[in-house]
């Protein structure tokens, strides 16, 4: 246990610092940070400098990064998000999986790959990289649009498919049909067992447990981590992949109201470990591997990007969505999923294919992710260009389904006595009232009313999206700290009315400058009302005393009498 043996300035440190530097470059050039992280591994690994090798700590962190990413994806599987478009989404996802696998197989075969190489390439070439699409759409505020929801839905269904593929590749794809069949059955059996454990917990003690601690975000977070680790460890022990365990762990928590909050807490940690994970892919590549099939990879990129776009366009259009929805929904999905690299790396680890195949997949991921960034950022402009052509070939239906969501509603952030007392006029004037609150007390209280409840902290973008702040007509916020209100006001439409609480005059003035209609300063408001009581008392103590034996009902309304 000498200090040298546990030096902090390890390879891990070099990876993070380099990734940071490259992330700034990526930011300047508008690339996704993910590309910067993969490049980090390539620069530091044997391809360019050869200064970092994969040591144990990097291995653990990479493993955790991937585990947490799948845990997050599981957490994100909120069925209510895609309610109403479930059937078309499943049709699109199923069709896309089959057609793109066939296309990938065909392209790989045509490019001269044979045997296990073709199978791994076909299984691993999955289009639609969740982090890339979700991050860019969220930045543009399009995550909640119809194309955005379709894409997210398809990505979720695809993730289930990928978990199965990962499990299969993880088990080695080995042996004859019978052995593979047994393997698949064993995998499904174990997955079902883990899934059942997760589901039973969700039905029995989880809601109670999380409800009891949800007021303290640190405790909620530690319990979430313990939950994830328990499943990750169980999956490892059962020789399923870490990914499967983590994903199912996330599913168990996803339908609980605390999932959005927990996901936001997990994200930074996951981001940090993912830096290591994506770098570790690059670290594992050698120069000759990356370049081994560079011509084939570039050809495949071109064919697959166009091909997959057409597949998606056909599938979404077939469900009868409008031309714009179909176009944007498909043009977003033209990059190879980051899971291709996971599947590829796993296949190499299982000795199914050699490293040049992983190099081929990595090059494809690098190229398509980079190009697709520009495509997603300009998707509306691209649509305007393509419109005449789409009209001519008859793309476009009219089912743009009514999205479940709020519009012209009142959003109330924070639920305390102040808000509770002010609720009656809000509920009277609005059919839809959404309360956003991060303690659970209000949830129980509102459970039986027609007021919708979103659990979480409004500083998180996802929570604001859940409440459709950008479509609201009234905002009443007692959120803390101030910056949360700035986010809320930025999201709110210009013509909506905003009542926002401040703690002091300085903050109040800032809020007025920012366009707030009325700044709530709760203590002066209360003080004025209390002063009114004192005045009444002093005017006639006898009658005040007589009329005041405090009835709780009056206390609630804060009225003198």
């Amino acid at each position: 246990m000498s200090p040298e043996a546990i030096a902090l300035a390890s390879d891990f440190a070099i990876v993070v610092v380099t990734a940071t530097a490259l992330a700034y470059v990526a930011r300047r050039t508008g690339q996704p940070t993910l590309v910067a992280y993969i490049l980090t591994g390539i620069v530091l690994g044997p391809v360019v400098l050869g200064v970092v090798t994969e040591d144990d700590l990097i291995g653990v962190m990479a493993e955790l990064g991937l585990g947490f990413l799948l845990f997050l994806l599981g957490l994100e599987m909120r069925f209510d998000r895609i309610k109403g478009i479930v059937r078309p989404v499943i049709n699109v996802a199923a069709g896309q999986t089959v057609l793109q696998t066939a296309l990938a197989f065909g392209v790989a075969y045509a490019l001269g790959f044979r045997g296990m190489d073709v199978i791994v390439i076909a299984l691993a070439t999955v289009f639609g990289a969740t982090p890339v699409i979700v991050k860019l759409l969220a930045d543009q505020g399009d995550l909640d649009s119809l194309p955005g929801r379709i894409d997210v839905g398809v990505l979720i269904v695809q993730d289930i498919y990928l978990v199965i593929v990962l499990a299969l590749v993880g088990a080695g794809l080995a042996g004859g049909a019978v052995e593979i069949g047994t393997d698949v059955a064993r995998i499904f059996g174990l997955m079902a067992a883990i899934g059942a454990a997760s589901y039973l917990s969700y039905r029995s003690f989880l809601p109670w447990l999380l409800g009891a601690v949800a007021d303290d975000r640190t405790v909620l977070f530690v319990i979430g981590l313990a939950w994830a680790f328990a499943f990750i460890y169980a999956a490892e022990r059962l020789e399923l992949s870490v990914e499967v365990g983590a994903f199912i762990a996330g599913l168990g928590l996803a339908q609980l109201p605390y999932s959005t909050e927990l996901k936001e807490r997990m994200e930074p940690l996951t981001d940090l470990f993912l830096v290591v994970f994506f770098s570790s892919i690059g670290l594992g590549l050698a120069a000759d591997h990356l370049a081994a099939y560079w011509v084939e990879a570039l050809v495949a990129c071109a064919v697959m990007m166009v091909g997959n776009f057409l597949i998606m366009l056909y599938l979404i259009d077939r469900e009868g969505f409008s031309a714009e929805t179909s176009f944007i929904g498909s043009v977003n999905m033209v990059q190879v999923s980051e899971f291709s690299l996971v599947v590829g790396a796993l296949a190499v680890a299982q000795d199914l294919v050699d490293e040049p195949i992983l190099g081929y997949l990595s090059l494809m991921a690098l190229v398509t992710m980079t190009l697709s960034t520009y495509v997603i950022l300009t998707n509306r402009a691209l649509y305007e260009r393509a419109r005449p052509l789409l009209d001519r070939i008859g793309v476009g239906g009219d089912v743009d389904a009514d999205l479940p969501g709020y519009e012209g509603h009142a959003v109330v952030v924070g639920y305390d006595d102040l808000v509770r007392t002010a609720m009656p006029p809000i509920r009277e004037h609005f059919e839809q009232v959404v309360v956003v609150e991060r303690s659970t007390a209000g949830m129980d209280e509102l459970a039986d009313s027609d007021v919708a409840f979103v659990y979480g902290d409004a500083k998180h973008g996802d929570v604001r999206t859940d409440a459709d702040v950008s479509e609201a007509a009234l905002l009443v916020s007692v959120a803390r700290p101030t910056s949360v209100n700035r986010h809320l006001l930025a999201d709110l439409p210009d013509d909506a009315k905003a009542f926002v609480a401040a703690v002091d005059p300085v903050e109040a003035r800032d809020l007025y400058e920012g366009g707030t209609d009325y700044v709530i300063l709760r203590e002066p408001l209360a003080g004025t009302a209390l002063g009114e009581h004192v005045r009444r008392y002093l005017a006639d103590p006898e009658s005040y005393r007589e009329r005041s034996p405090g009835s709780i009902g009056r206390i609630e309304r804060g009225e003198p009498s």
Partner: protein, 550 residues
Amino acid sequence: MTELAVIEALTAVFLAAAILLVGARRLGLPPIPFYLAAGMLVGPVIAPEHLLELARWGIAFLVFAFAVETDPLTDIDRSATTVGIVQVTATGVLLYMVGLAIGLGRLDALLLAAFGAFSSTLVALGHLTEGPVRPSVTHERLAEAINVVDDLAAIAVILVVGAVAFPDAPGVEGIAAGIGVLAGAVVLRRVLFDRLAAAARGDVEIVMITAVSLLIGFVAIAEAIGISIVVGAFAAGLAVSSEYPHDVEAVDAIGSIEDFFIPVFFVTLGALATVPDARTLGLAGVILLGVIVLNPVVTVLTARRAGYDDRTATLAGTRLDQVSEFSLVIAIEALLVGAIAPAFFEALVLAAIVSMVLSAYTSDHGEAIYRGLTARGIVGDDLGSVRHESTVSDDVADHIIVVGYGPVGRRVVDAIADAGREAVVIDPDPALAAAVGDRGAGYVAGEVESDATWTVARPDSAALIVSAVPDPPRNRRVVDRAGETDVIALATDRATASSLLERGATFVAIPDALAGGRLADHVERTLSEEGYADRLRERGRKRLADVDDK
């Protein structure tokens, strides 16, 4: 170490931590002693060596986050800081000599001194849970200031001990280099960090890994010089602190990573300790005596010398009777380089657990402890100091006592003045005397818990008592002291409100409900009256301008 072994250890760490945390949460106790206890539970089944590297990240993030939140150059309250410096020095020197007297080596004695002298910011202020931090009361402000001094002194001790007392230490040059690193960090904050944050263009992920990279960079420099990584982590925190408060999401991102590594650190630390033998228990007892008896006594004596009244001094003392997490950091660093014996380390960890749990109790029951001590004549009353600061005549009568001169109390005093009556304000902050006087009201500088305050305020001859602070224990005290006089009070919730009514209050209001009633009115009229929103906005802005003029 294999990946599976590490994941197995982490799984055990988080399961144990989660289970015990639920318990801690139920009992309303701070999490750190429960992390340590979780470590002692899982210690036998995991191999803590696997976690040492991750645990060091825990130390780094702990110190880093502390430095990000502290701005040592602006947070200074001079007299409280003096108390802190004297307290740390006196307790430290005394315990060091005790340590030598009972036959400890020099480094062991120094650790004994550190464990006794430093108290914990995280435990005392509840930073790790989401308990409200409300340093509005004098003794809480005093305790907080002493804590900041303790933490800074702890980092200085870590720097010095790491540089000269450990095997293979770089010596005095190391201290100089450490100071240079800290100075460099402050320069970096001025010239570099703002630019980096601007270049990241609000991307939380990039700001987060930038902060982590700075942390790594400074820790690497510290390791290269051969001084403690704590100094590097503290410097890194100084380098980023300027821009952070403005960006919740980035602070939150760091917080999430910190929340991962902190349980790993404290649980690992607990896991390194094993079942204690008799000698270890004896040592732990000596350390505990230093922490929960000697340290508060020295604090009280010092604070009294500095002019604080007995009550404030005693209450501050009851908040400073636990081992600091930084002392634990010194201990684990010493253990890792083999500078202290494992048995001594176990004694230190045991003392930390016990003192942290005990201190949650003493800070909740400080008032009772103070009263017990006064009754036995150990500490005195504070009538003299209250009378000295107050501006009320000895024969004041038919006045209206207003407890608390915050935004609520101010408006109540205005209402009383409008009615042509005399108000007497009770508030512990002497700085308010002038403002109260301007409104034509009398002023009593004291807390409602103190008997002296009521002796001066004369509730029995008052016409009415209005409590403008919605703090349950204080309001119970107000109602109890009111005698026959009517009381209008505030309560935070319904249950408290009815208990106050039962206790004898004439009228109880919930301030948020009072305010909510007015808000409901504004909302209703905004939604139904044309042009009301504009008028409301104008009126609100104008009133703010009025506040400025005053």
